[in-house]
């Protein structure tokens, strides 16, 4: 941080290298791909300015500060999007609507994953299926499920992890079969 304060460009490169992928990941997850490079750049500008003007001095605060800046950027973007949407409605402006459907490749992957998940549900006991339905579809908490179904926390975790392991195993098997066919 001292090197950044002195204007050392290699230190700034190190900072960018350390955090850029993670910042990009969080921003993409919350806001999507639009203008992602600009948003990542904006975050870095804020961070380096904070370091250079002495607002951020302690290295141990850096991670928390980066995270706070990312969250604020997300909140600020959402606020702007909500205001824009409100203004478009008020002036009867035709806003462009982006197609939020997944691209064909992603849609194919999602269909495949659905097939795997269905296979997992078909080959597990009815009680396990109910646990997974309550958790993933009904969004009941682990505590609620355990209380209502008379399970211990360990039993609940075991049901979940077995299903996930089965999902992964079926996925790998399918990939291996496809590779064998190509060969």
């Amino acid at each position: 941080m001292e090197r950044i304060r002195r204007g050392d460009s290699s230190a700034m490169e190190e900072l960018y290298k350390m955090f850029s992928t993670g910042i990009r990941f969080l921003l993409y997850r919350q806001l999507g791909p639009q203008d992602l490079d600009d948003k990542v750049h904006d975050v870095f500008v804020i961070i380096t300015q904070a370091i250079c003007n002495g607002e951020l001095r302690e290295p141990e605060r850096l991670m928390g500060y980066v995270h706070t800046v990312v969250r604020r950027q997300v909140a600020s973007h959402i606020d702007r999007a909500v205001q824009m949407r409100r203004n478009y409605v008020d002036v009867d402006f035709q806003e462009s609507v982006s197609d939020k459907r997944p691209n064909p490749e992603r849609a194919a992957i999602e269909r495949q994953n659905l097939g795997l998940a269905m296979s997992v549900l078909q080959c597990i006991p009815k009680r396990d299926r109910e646990v997974l339905t309550r958790f993933y579809l009904n969004e009941e908490s682990a505590e609620e499920i355990c209380e209502n179904m008379g399970l211990t926390d360990t039993q609940f975790r075991l049901i979940k992890s077995r299903a996930k392991a089965r999902f992964g195993e079926l996925g790998r098997r399918r990939l291996t079969n496809r590779t064998s066919l190509r060969v």
């Binding site: 993670g22 994953n113 659905l114």
Partner: protein
């Protein structure tokens, strides 16, 4: 190398926390800690992407599964149809008898009262359970006078999940909102023109 305290390489996010985060079921504090870790851990970012895909697939599969499960049984029922006529007749008679009696109806869950006083910011937001209607009690003291206010509830992505209005408001007001999924929400009070006057944070969790 910048002097940053990095977590040990072998310390990663647990599977349960990844699933909960993917389902927006982690607390705000735990989510913040997890996101800080994701800033620098490529392994956990990859695991989260896998968790997202898995959670979405299981959700869709669980939703579709009952319909698929019933389909294979239809042929068997058709084959046994002649045998089942007396059984169906008995069931029909019982159903008629039961509906002729007064039944105790399951009451819809009572709304869960939530007092909203916290603005969006570092303070802990109000909390409420999921899957129950919410009776939001709004603190309107100090707001610009208006014959009515618009009330809007949005999720953390800014998508509106509910809107309503309060007519002839006083210092406090109450609105009832339908049950919502777990996650972080913001409740906004605005003038009829749309100008936002106040915003409250509301965290919806899985248990009371």
């Amino acid at each position: 190398m910048i002097g940053v305290g990095l977590p040990a390489k072998n310390q990663h996010v647990g599977e349960a926390d990844l699933d909960s985060y993917s389902m927006h079921a982690l607390s705000q504090e735990a989510s913040a800690r997890l996101e800080e870790h994701l800033l620098i851990c490529e392994t956990c970012r990859g695991r989260l992407v896998e968790a997202d895909a898995y959670v979405a697939a299981m959700k869709d599969a669980a939703r579709d599964f009952p319909r698929q499960e019933r389909a294979p049984d239809q042929a068997r029922w058709q084959w046994r149809w002649p045998r089942l006529i007396p059984a169906f007749a008995a069931v029909a008679l019982i159903a008629i008898a039961v509906t002729a009696l007064p039944l105790t109806r399951h009451a819809a869950p009572a709304p869960f009262a939530v007092s909203l006083r916290t603005m969006r910011g570092p303070d802990t937001p109000a909390r409420a359970p999921s899957r129950r209607p919410l009776a939001l009690q709004l603190d309107l003291t100090g707001l610009a006078a208006s014959p009515s206010y618009r009330i809007e509830m949005v999720d953390r992505s800014g998508n509106r999940v509910w809107q309503g209005a309060i007519a002839n408001p006083v210092s406090t007001a109450s609105v009832t909102v339908p049950p919502q999924k777990r996650g972080m929400y913001f409740v906004r009070v605005a003038l009829p023109s749309g100008e936002t006057l106040r915003e409250y944070g509301l965290e919806i969790r899985g248990t009371d």
